[in-house]
Symmetry: C2
Subunit: 223 residues, 2 copies
């Protein structure tokens, strides 16, 4: 991807092309914008402004406009943004304008909750397979899916072309599972185990550890 910058007057002959990628921190805000936009749509609204959106999210309007400007022009002066259009555009940017099949590894309480969660489909994801190493749950049907043994993981992930996985196993097993997922071709891992994973370049990892979030807040509280 490249960008064309306007040259200062008097116009130089060269055109500066930058392959500089979009900051990850900007990418990280797009899902938040998208969530809020869809929320507004459900409220029956048709348009919003960077000011209104920023007000809801606690983000400056300038930042929202700047973030969006990395990808194109989506608004109209005086009017703001058409919600349906902007939502569609962001879904396209984030590649969630279709459904990604997701593997879930670990079917304890948390894995169950993930498998049953109804909020994935409308936002670009579909739980496609479940794995566990516990023979008590292998074969069990959860949300219409049979829990498969770990031995079948690689085969099944490759068969379905799964690129995205969620790890919901105990911390002790998480790195091993991550290795197996990477081996199977998974490129994005959402890790619920409270441990930082080591993965090769090109594999993306995000973390969910409720305690990290809680500890971040207790710093500001009086015990």
């Amino acid at each position: 991807m490249f960008w064309l910058f306007r040259m200062p007057e008097p116009a130089a002959k060269v055109t500066v092309m930058s392959n500089s990628s979009i900051p990850d921190i900007v990418i990280g805000r797009l899902p938040i914008y998208l969530r809020a936009l869809n929320h507004m749509i459900q409220e029956g609204k048709e348009y919003t402004s960077s000011h209104e959106l920023g007000g809801r999210l606690g983000i400056s309007s300038a930042q929202i406009r700047k973030d969006l400007s990395h990808f194109g022009e989506f608004g109209k002066q005086g009017t703001g943004y058409n919600l349906a259009y902007l939502s569609e555009q962001i879904r396209h940017i984030l590649h969630v304008d279709h459904q990604w099949p997701v593997a879930v590894v670990g079917v304890g309480d948390l894995g169950h909750a993930i498998a049953h969660y109804r909020g994935f489909a409308s936002r670009g994801f579909r739980v496609a397979c479940l794995f566990d190493n516990n023979s008590d749950v292998i074969g069990e049907k959860i949300a219409g899916l049979s829990v498969l043994p770990m031995e079948q993981m690689s085969t099944e992930i490759q068969r379905q072309g799964v690129q995205v996985a969620m790890i919901a196993v105990p911390a002790e097993a998480a790195q091993l599972v991550a290795n197996q997922l990477v081996q199977a071709g998974v490129k994005a891992i959402l890790n619920y185990a409270p441990i930082t994973l080591a993965v090769p370049p090109g594999v993306h990892v995000q973390y969910i550890d409720p305690v990290v979030h809680l500890q971040r807040m207790t710093y500001y509280l009086k015990p």
Copy 2:
């Protein structure tokens, strides 16, 4: 809290006091450091260095040293950091050197998983009460706790002095629940509902929305 800065030579007479608070982004990394330090302790290690810690976490050693320097001097030249000591210090800084009672609102699949999670106790938290508005689950015993009706929430939170809560209700109910929690005196909310909450100043909110994390990764993937 204030900080003493070394004056340049020749020494000035005044002592500069700064009330500038520590950046929130620094606070946000401390729980990650703490998690890794405790992991190393469990591996039987006794010391680490900023270089080793940074290597594990994908963070520069300079950043780790800078972050810690906001709070004091915890290491020794040539040796590094004593793990038990640094862990204890960070626990103290984050106020997780004792257990915070936590209220959980919403006892669906996710609320069940949270209530059963064994990972809170060692890291400064204890699920102290569960609430729901569904009469099917009210009265049910989960992890030794009876699920209470929403009507008892405020009273119970105040009775136990709960300052920290987790919201695990559907998105439509989350803002209302947040309002009630704030009314009851809660100062920190971990929100699992996929919605940005509006809360008064002084109330802290953190978010866990797996889809936000997934969407952040799919941007980089080829569909």
